[in-house]
């Protein structure tokens, strides 16, 4: 990473490279987990043109190759003790989610109860994820527990509103007690090459979050090729994301293994460059224990064990938890129970 990268514009712009670039020449930026922002890469974000040069200079992603790699990792066989460990790890990484027009305080209270005590002796989940107007209900239910309150914001899921409306959305969620904010990026701006607009919006939300963690939803199902997934990942990290997240769950396709692979490579490379560890959240479409274990394998063999931690990897899901619980029960008892033996929420 800190190799001489002559002749390669992407690497010239890449942090940590010894070429003239935005970072101190020849040395990695001093790792500092508390550094919030761009780790000495502000020049990259100076304009649409400089952002474009940087993002388009990143190494490309070959779709066929990335898909094949993800497919190969999906054949890993996780059995016995490893499966037990993976199931509990997956449960502890879940952002238990309800994002429906029909959500009520009652529904959120029920979900919070399940989040704290999933049953079958399973560990609590990582967080409960709700709309901002219900963040207060969740915060009240989860006070004093290790389970975090996550709230979507910024006119989720489309992100189509004026910036001040989005910031108000964020502030209301944080004021209601959200520990984590899941924002959506402006895909229209990204696709039309207005990278600076996307960057500024994320940075503004970052400030509006205050002490809350910021998860930036790329909505990869609307971004097209994996090259764009890599660029959007770097853009979000440059702008101050704590997490990069695949999807809202409202657009198909949502999380896929190849997309998550590319995002895991991005956070791995970001740490190489800056020393900062950024989390990844795969959300939407992950319904079975088998799916969840495939994501654990993907994390394990891409970003590595440092990311096998609910602080750095999350699964945004709703029905997944019950399948994990049924699998967990089967590992303990040797038989399958059934959907009537796990709670609906």
């Amino acid at each position: 990473m800190n190799a001489p990268a002559a002749g390669r514009p992407g690497h010239a712009a890449r942090p940590g490279s010894s070429r003239p670039g935005p970072s101190p020449a020849g040395s990695r930026v001093v790792p500092d987990e508390s550094t919030r922002h761009t780790d000495g890469m502000n020049e990259v974000a100076a304009s649409d043109a400089s952002l474009r040069r940087f993002l388009h200079g990143l190494p490309g992603v070959d779709e066929a190759g990335a898909t094949a790699r993800a497919g190969m990792l999906a054949t890993r066989s996780v059995k016995t003790d490893a499966k037990r460990q993976a199931i509990d790890l997956a449960i502890s990484m879940i952002d238990l989610t309800t994002l429906e027009g029909q959500d009520t305080p009652g529904k959120v209270r029920a979900l919070c109860a399940k989040a704290r005590h999933p049953g079958f002796g399973a560990p609590p989940v990582a967080a409960v994820c709700v709309y901002p107007d219900l963040a207060g209900v969740a915060a009240q239910q989860l006070r004093g527990t290790p389970v975090k309150v996550a709230s979507v914001a910024t006119s989720f899921p489309s992100g189509r509103a004026a910036l001040d409306v989005k910031l108000a959305d964020v502030k209301s969620a944080v004021a209601a007690g959200a520990d984590e904010v899941d924002m959506v990026i402006d895909r229209g701006a990204f696709l039309s090459g207005r990278y600076r607009a996307v960057y500024e919006e994320i940075a503004a939300v970052r400030i509006a979050c205050g002490g809350a963690h910021l998860k930036v939803i790329l909505e990869t199902g609307e971004l097209g090729p994996l090259d764009n997934v890599r660029r959007a990942s770097w853009l979000a990290m440059l702008a101050g994301a704590d997490f990069i997240k695949t999807s809202t769950g409202k657009v198909s396709p949502a999380a896929t293994l190849p997309v998550t692979l590319v995002m895991l490579e991005a956070v791995r490379d970001w740490r190489e460059a800056t020393g900062r560890r950024i989390g990844v959240k795969a959300a939407g479409g992950i319904r079975t224990a088998k799916d969840a274990i495939r994501y654990i394998v993907l994390v394990h063999e891409t970003a590595g064990e440092d990311w096998l931690d609910a602080r750095y990897f999350r699964l945004g899901a709703s029905s997944l938890l019950n399948d994990l619980l049924m699998q967990r029960d089967r590992m303990e008892t040797g038989r399958y129970s059934g959907p009537d033996y796990v709670t609906v929420d």
Binding site: M1, A3, P4, A5, A6, G7, R8, G10, H11, P59, G60, V61, D62, A64, G65, A66, A68, R69, T75, R76, S77, V78, K79, T80, D81, A82, K83, Q85, A86, L89, E265, I296, H300, E301, E305, L308, D309
Partner: protein
């Protein structure tokens, strides 16, 4: 968090090994003069006793093939031959798990590869050629191309069943009968294939499998009853066969060694290129004739790429080949292991820098860790000679011209890889590479429809695709075609 996969071994119970195997001639297993043992390279355990075919056994097999050729197979309509081939293809699929486990036991390759690559591709070759059997008039070799007769086929140990499929499927589709000799160290799946031929009711003598060592192979190739020789293996043996066939006038195709260059340009998709490099040289422990054993990387990204490659290599899982999560299995034989060790030592002696990830090797069996040499120059032995093991030599280049010059600077010419996001560069480089197969942004991909074969000392003739049929047909000259016989 510390996380590791628990052992996930594939069950051996799907395979029922016999204590000893005869020779498959004339549709049945017959005893031969002497026997030898075949072992599992991962544990050195004896798997079975196999018959060594002597000259009289070869005679008998060739006679059975001749008889079947004249009486049955060459006069059977292509449509009917195709049915048998389809049946064999389906039986391979049905018994895929059993064959995969047996292949892994006998060869040492990871079950993931035998299960996901070798056996499905072997079935695919039979399906593909089954389709050709009744369409040979449309293959571009004249209105009614004739088969050659009896083919003597000698195959290597690196992809035992797959190489069998590459040889037998086109031969049978074109109307030839075969006598096949599998490698000495990996005879078992060929013998299982013989059982499949019985199961498919293939007429006796169309496929004959004789086991043995180099002497058996020599007797087969030298046999006057053989019309066509097909060999996959070392260049050294290939040259000897070429000399023999030059004298006898037999038709011959050879698929020999390689020292492929995998060329990575500075605008390559790095993460996928690293996967391709790993797949290129560590797939099947590097026992691949078309392995990407020379990495040519553009100097401007060499350090960065090497860092990624080392990180990726540290994740390779070496061990029990039957474990479903194993990436690197056992080296096929002690002899091959010794050869790889000598090459690795020569690399160090020549001044290249050797690196392997921390990688504990099992106590029993034949193992070699994934190894990469940096600072290699064209003059080093490890840059010139085929190692046939998990050993990668890394060289750098500055311009596309230099990359092409270095890639072509080898007596071999089997395959090459090009990695760049720039389409025009792929096309211009591929055009100048003297290699039978050029992969762009991928490596070690095979398909029965795609012809495979080499330039220079990598052999001649093509296998697979329409081109591969030519090797098994008595191809007419243009004037004959125009004459319309």
């Amino acid at each position: 968090m510390r996380f590791d996969y628990a052992p996930a071994p594939e069950s051996r119970s799907v395979v029922s090994l016999r204590d000893s195997y005869g020779l498959f001639t004339g549709g049945e297993f017959v005893a031969g003069s002497s026997v030898f043992k075949t072992i599992s390279p991962a544990s050195e355990e004896v798997l079975a006793e196999v018959t060594h075919a002597g000259p009289e056994d070869v005679d008998r097999a060739v006679a059975a093939a001749r008889h079947a050729y004249e009486r049955t197979w060459s006069v059977m309509p292509g449509k009917e031959r195709g049915k048998y081939l389809f049946r064999i293809a389906r039986l391979i699929q049905e018994r895929a798990r059993e064959i995969a486990v047996l292949e892994t036991l006998d060869n040492g390759k990871p079950i993931r590869e035998s299960r996901d690559v070798d056996i499905p591709l072997a079935a695919a070759h039979f399906f593909y050629h089954a389709g050709w059997a009744d369409k040979l008039s449309y293959a571009g070799f004249g209105p009614s191309p004739r088969p050659l007769g009896v083919a003597g086929q000698v195959i290597p140990w690196n992809f035992p069943l797959l190489m069998l499929a590459w040889k037998i499927a086109p031969a049978l589709a074109c109307g030839n009968t075969v006598v096949l000799k599998p490698a000495e160290t990996t005879p078992l799946t060929a013998l299982l294939f013989a059982e499949i031929c019985q199961q498919a009711d293939l007429p006796p003598g169309v496929v004959n499998v004789i086991t043995g060592d180099g002497a058996t192979g020599h007797a087969l190739v030298a046999h006057p009853g053989i019309d066509k020789v097909a060999f996959t293996g070392s260049t050294e043996v290939g040259k000897e066969i070429a000399r023999m066939c030059a004298v006898s006038g037999q038709r011959v195709t050879l698929e020999l060694g390689g020292k492929a260059a995998n060329i990575v340009f500075d605008d390559a998709p790095i993460d996928q290129a690293v996967e391709g490099i790993v797949n290129g040289i560590f797939f099947n422990q590097g026992h691949v004739c078309c392995a990407g054993s020379r990495l040519l990387v553009q100097e401007s990204i060499a350090d960065e790429l090497m860092e990624s490659l080392r990180r990726r290599m540290s994740r390779l899982r070496l061990g029990d080949p039957l474990d479903k999560n194993t990436d690197i299995g056992a080296v096929n034989s002690r002899a091959q292991l010794d050869k790889i060790r000598i090459f690795a030592e020569s690399g160090v002696a020549d001044g290249a820098e050797r690196w392997s990830p921390a990688c504990p090797l099992p106590d029993r069996g034949f193992w070699f860790p994934p190894t990469v040499f940096t600072g290699v120059s064209q003059a080093h032995r490890i840059a010139q000679e085929e190692i046939f093991g998990p050993v990668l030599s890394v060289l750098t280049f500055r311009t596309p011209d230099e990359a092409v010059a270095k890639a072509n600077n080898t007596p071999y010419g089997l395959s090459a890889g090009v990695w760049t996001d720039k389409g025009s560069l792929i096309l211009s480089v591929a055009q100048r590479l003297r290699a039978g197969v050029v992969w762009a942004n991928t490596f070690n991909r095979f398909d029965p429809a795609s012809p495979f074969g080499g330039y220079k000392e990598s052999g001649y003739g093509r296998e697979g695709g329409r081109h591969g049929l030519e090797a098994y047909l008595d191809v007419l000259g243009p004037s004959d075609v125009l004459g319309g016989q």
